[in-house]
Symmetry: C2
Subunit: 389 residues, 2 copies
């Protein structure tokens, strides 16, 4: 199924391997199952559609971390713990204010999370309790960091968290300074549920590789943020927005997309290593994008997205290139009033739950990840003195 690459080293030995480790089993997991051929995604046995319809981000996070849907009491306690850790420590916020406003927001998020690790009590034994406590703290504080980054970029004072609001509603509040209506809060809640987990994607795999050295949770999460930043991973939803802005209006869609297809340019938000049919998350997000366009009366971005989807289906649908989760999240975030610069950080606000679940799972039965490589370099070079070179 997976195409192997064949190489011959300088001793004449043949080797074959999967490029990008496609199809290579890294380890076992009980967190997430993806059926790319059928477009199915389940978290711990429950279809993503059910969670998107009935759950909340807080409940889904608990489910991912601990493997069971919480009772009312467990959920209440979990939400209480999250609220307790929403605020950024004053010393960290002070340093944030000294960071350059125009830096890449993911780099800033990475730095702030790394900095917070310096204040964390040592957890060198990686006890389950300590580790889950650290993960919960990070889930709690991520929205506050991301909102503060955005406010500081705009030259505004960060907004303190409001514990009367849900995780999602509070994020919108801290970014915009205004409490969102229930529908907007629910849309973001659904976005956070949909992005929370996705198996062995690059950032989650990164977090497991890093924690497998038995380093600290902050090192694993910092690494995952850096990975998520990449345009081949989380950075793609920014790319979709750039595409929409590049196209400019509905009338230009056909021409720009066809031109890109002809020149074999990458079209952001399309295609996925795992899904060969429509990403189930894109399906859900597409509906929310449509509804938000109606509510706000700003049809443009949804209409453009829909048109791109149609053209792509017509032109390359037979090659299994469909919209992925990034494609409709771009217009949804736009309708919710978020700036382009925090699209990927908002992805991180959600994915921290998946990273946390994988870090905890990895530590339960750890084995250092230490693959190998085929050496194709020289084997017998002499060290020549510099005077002879």
């Amino acid at each position: 199924m997976v195409k192997k690459r064949e190489v011959i080293d300088k001793s004449g030995n043949k080797h074959s391997f999967s490029e990008g480790m496609a199809g290579v089993i890294a380890t076992t997991s009980e967190i997430c199952f993806i059926n790319g051929a059928e477009g199915k995604l389940i978290y711990r046995g429950v279809p993503i559609e059910d969670l998107a319809e009935k759950s909340t981000f807080e409940e889904t996070s608990y489910f991912l971390l601990y493997g069971e849907l919480p009772t009312q009491k467990e959920l209440h306690e979990f939400e209480k713990r999250l609220k307790k850790h929403r605020a950024i420590p004053a010393t960290v916020l002070d340093v944030m204010k000294q960071m350059p406003d125009d830096a890449n927001t993911m780099q800033t998020l990475r730095t702030v999370v790394s900095l917070m690790g310096l204040y964390e009590p040592k957890n060198d034994e990686h006890s389950v309790k300590e580790t889950s406590g650290e993960v919960e703290k990070l889930i709690a504080v991520f929205p506050t960091i991301v909102a503060a980054i955005q406010r500081l970029r705009e030259g505004k004072e960060p907004v303190a968290p409001d514990n009367s609001l849900s995780h999602a509603a509070n994020l919108i509040y801290m970014v915009t300074g205004e409490k969102p209506d229930d529908y907007a809060a629910r849309v973001l809640d659904v976005c956070l549920i949909l992005h929370a987990e996705h198996g062995f994607n690059a950032s989650t795999f990164t977090s497991r590789v890093v924690i497998s050295t038995l380093t600290d949770v902050y090192s694993a999460v910092t690494a995952a943020i850096g990975s998520l930043r990449g345009p081949l991973h989380g950075g793609a939803n920014e790319g979709v927005m750039h595409l929409l802005d590049e196209i400019g209006d509905l009338e230009s869609v056909e021409k720009v997309i066809k031109n890109k297809l002809e020149t074999k340019a990458k079209i952001m938000g399309f295609g996925h290593r795992v899904y060969k049919v429509l990403d189930p998350r894109a399906k859900i997000l597409s509906q929310y994008s449509k509804r938000l366009a109606e509510i706000t009366g700003k049809q443009k971005y949804y209409a453009m997205s829909k048109k791109i989807e149609e053209i792509m289906k017509r032109e390359v649908g037979d090659r299994g290139i469909y919209p992925n989760v990034d494609f409709f999240s771009a217009s949804v975030y736009h309708y919710l009033g978020f700036s382009l610069e925090i699209y990927t950080p908002i992805f991180a606000v959600s994915r921290i739950s998946g990273w946390g679940a994988h870090i905890m799972e990895q530590l339960r039965e750890n084995r250092l990840f230490r693959p190998t490589s085929v050496y194709l370099g020289d084997i017998d070079r002499k060290y020549m003195a510099i005077s002879d070179r």
Copy 2:
């Protein structure tokens, strides 16, 4: 050769895989070749013994990054560029002074490097020139950061780099405030050469996984630092020093080690995933440790190390458990006057050259690392309403 683990998922399908990806080929590389069965290590075709004897860290770094030993002119230019970037930018140093003095030094290093990324001009196209420029800057500044961390821990003012000194000599100078003699500088230079590169170890693999998303160099290096921190990776040389301190004196070695062997406790500095004979780096470092013990007149740590090696050889030598690079670097660093807390950061000062070489190589022919996992969780769980739980 590599033992595979067999698992059966809940649909009854069998899967087999290598735990920890042992023996799994991640990709090809031309940087480093390790023959674990024969105890051979070569950088770009040249045996590590030759480099340790004849090269310098600066030259070896150039060789790792660019694939050819430099001409005199190239080396001179390279050294000039490194010297130009030794200093920590003032804004970053200001923030360092606000960080807690008692934090883990690797976490501090990780944070400072991440912070420096915020000031780096954008390099979103990953041009070879820009990328190698960033890597060179990091090689240049790592010693200064590590020395500043140590000085601030001690409540002292950081020492500015001295451009009349070599990379290694300058590190000792910035840590101790005193210019080292030629022999001490050369010993550290050799240590840096020996630790600079080692194939697809966990931190290097991490750096490649992260950069494969086409994120920035700082994200990849930050991730690698977090990985190197782990006690199953770079953190091990600290563990060796703890072991020596725990034993206390030469007379107690036999008793403590035998007791550890009987209780199957891990003995730090022994055993390696790749080497099944003596690590060639340990062989070289052992000689330096011996010589430093003679010069300083402080025989204790070398004598203890040697005795541990003998007992281990006698008791478990037939199981292929030999000293690794961490084992003798602990006593060598001790003789050079470094505190335990910067042992792993000094490893990073060296390994940044290897990380940089791998990041550059990965970008030349990139493919996103995206392995898979075997899902062993439930497949058909119903979402039960919270009121029914």
